[in-house]
């Protein structure tokens, strides 16, 4: 089983999320994060004092996938997205608490 994590610009996130739904991925955990390169670097100026804001709000997406599906999911995200990064880490086991299902059945 794999954990696929993607950091995406907020504005491009809908497309990716939609694509994943089409693929039939039900569970996904979404976190709002700050990242670089996902938006225009800009300044904020309050009362004449300028401050550079290099990290922009972004969306982090974590989802578990069976080993066999992982490559597909990454591909889908990479195609649907415009900017951002995706990475894959190995998962040793997963449990869906409600049903107490283990392993890939828990997805």
């Amino acid at each position: 089983m794999k954990l696929i994590t993607a950091v995406l610009p907020a504005s491009g996130f809908e497309r990716v999320h939609e694509a994943l739904r089409t693929l039939g991925i039900p569970g996904v955990t979404v976190t709002t994060v700050f990242a670089r390169g996902v938006g225009r670097v800009h300044d904020e100026v309050y009362r004449g004092t300028r401050r550079r804001v290099e990290l922009q709000p972004a969306i982090r997406l974590d989802l578990l996938a069976a080993d066999a599906d992982a490559a597909d999911v990454v591909h889908v995200i990479a195609v649907a997205g415009v900017l951002g990064t995706v990475w894959v880490t190995p998962v040793e086991r997963a449990v869906r608490i409600r049903t107490r299902e283990w392993g890939e059945a828990a997805l």
């Binding site: 491009g12 996130f13 497309r15 939609e18 390169g37």
Partner: protein
């Protein structure tokens, strides 16, 4: 051509309308956002909607039957207090009752006060503002679990049955007014009433979810500051308007109100700093002190001197601080979930203030003047009129018993038709379950889904790629 009849004085009419507007602002947005900031985030919308709708309901009830019940001709229901406990219901929606000269049958023309110098619509609107704020105050006792429909029924019933009797007894020339009990602008009629009814209602309706009680932190203190600031300054109208004229007593009432409030705020602050459990000054403690001062001076505002006002602020703040921090921690009090502690800051404070009138009322504080130059004023125990304290006690007892009893009866009666509490699964969620709205909606939740019709547009939106592209340049 002249703009208005000769009995009307534009200065007095203006003062009264301004005072009424200030009291209105105390409710909307004052109390609405004060409470919205104090409740849990998940109940802010519910709280505000209850406030706005109660304000509206009271006005409709007021013009259709309640004003006449509070300030009209007495309904003779029996001997003694029953002979003048409430007025005959009636409407005030005709042209005559809007633009004619104001009058309260049992008060005007009896020599108890000078003739009004403004029209009936001014009196009706001014008094409406007081009637409206009362349910908003005890809303603080029942937020976080009361069924919204039950609230919509409770307000007109409570206002018609309970408030109108309070007002008639003390202000409409009813039994306690005739006996000489005093309430300058609502320490009993409004605050003691709100504290009592709120506490009983909280008991009848039952507590919030245990999880909510444990986690009930406020959500927005600057919002509380806005409500508190409007309350304080709005109280210039609340207490300043009850002389019914823009005269010297109105000005003294305003100054005294601010003075008692300042002293009470500082007293609470210092108690928190030097006697409180954490020995720190707290903003919400100061606001509690402020409210206590405002409430306690209300029954006394124009009857006491500046010294009296300082003492009222000091004494009330110490007593309510103890009531809040000691009495309120007792097991007995914890059983009743008076969510925002209205029983302390309004009930106890109003009662203390009302009794202190019986001590400090100073005959040198002229309310009105007789033609011969002598003054109309009142005296308390410290100025040789011990009976006043008894009168104040008696009136307080009447209010407490009547309000507690009828609040109980009305709620039980409503409970026969409508659930008083929202179901637990609704309480778990709060505003979103009751109103499909939340206080600080986030687009993040939606970014994640979008409205179904809109989704296609968004996903296919052609601007996404080109717009996002330049961002990647650096």
């Amino acid at each position: 051509m002249i703009p208005y009849p000769s009995w009307l004085n534009a200065g007095d009419n203006t003062w009264q309308l301004v005072a009424a507007t200030l009291v209105g602002l105390m409710s909307i947005p004052g109390i609405a956002v004060l409470y919205a900031g104090l409740v849990q985030r998940k109940w802010a919308v519910n709280t505000m909607l209850m406030a706005f709708s109660a304000f509206s309901i009271v006005l409709v009830a007021w013009v259709l039957y309640e004003f006449k019940m509070s300030f009209g001709s007495p309904l003779h229901l029996g001997p003694g207090i029953l002979n003048s406990a409430v007025g005959k219901p009636g409407t005030i929606t005709s042209a005559g009752s809007e633009i004619g000269k104001a009058g309260i049958p049992l008060v005007s023309g009896t020599g108890a006060m000078p003739d009004f110098r403004f029209p009936q619509s001014t009196l009706a609107y001014f008094q409406f503002a007081f009637a409206a704020i009362t349910p908003l105050l005890f809303l603080g006792s029942v937020i976080g679990r009361m069924n919204f429909k039950a609230w919509l029924l409770f307000v007109p019933l409570w206002s018609g049955i309970v408030y109108s009797v309070n007002a008639f007894l003390l202000w409409g020339g009813g039994w306690w007014a005739q006996a000489g009990a005093l309430d300058y602008s609502g320490g009993y009629v409004i605050h003691l009433a709100a504290g009592t009814s709120g506490f009983v209602a909280a008991a009848v309706i039952g507590p919030r979810l245990a999880r909510d009680r444990a986690k009930a932190v406020p959500n927005n203190l600057p919002m509380v500051a806005i409500g508190a600031g409007i309350l304080w300054l709005g109280w210039n109208g609340f207490n300043g308007g009850d002389m019914y004229f823009g005269g010297q007593n109105a000005a003294a009432a305003v100054l005294n109100t601010n003075l008692a409030t300042a002293v009470a705020l500082l007293t609470w602050l210092l108690l928190d700093m030097f006697a409180g459990p954490q020995r720190k000054p707290t903003f919400l403690g100061a606001i509690n002190g402020m409210i206590v001062g405002l409430v306690a001076i209300t029954p006394a505002a124009g009857f006491v001197t500046g010294v009296g006002a300082i003492l009222v602020g000091l004494i009330a703040s110490v007593i309510v601080w103890l009531s809040w921090n000691k009495l309120g921690k007792l097991r007995f009090m914890q059983k009743v979930d008076d969510a925002l502690g209205v029983v302390h800051t309004h009930g106890v404070a109003g009662l203390v203030g009302g009794l202190l009138v019986g001590l400090f009322a100073d005959p040198a504080m002229a309310v009105y003047y007789n033609k011969d130059g002598s003054v109309f004023s009142v005296a308390g125990l410290f100025h040789g009129h011990a009976k006043q304290l008894l009168l104040q006690l008696g009136a307080a007892g009447t209010i407490i018993v009547w309000d507690a009893l009828m609040t109980f009866v009305i709620l039980r009666a409503i409970g026969l038709f409508v659930k008083l509490r929202a179901p637990d699964e609704v309480l778990e969620i709060g505003d979103l379950a009751v109103h499909d709205e939340e206080a600080y909606p986030s687009e993040e939740g939606l970014a994640v889904v979008g409205a179904s019709e809109a989704k296609a547009a968004v996903v296919a939106e052609p601007t996404t790629r080109p717009v996002a592209e330049p961002a990647a340049e650096p």
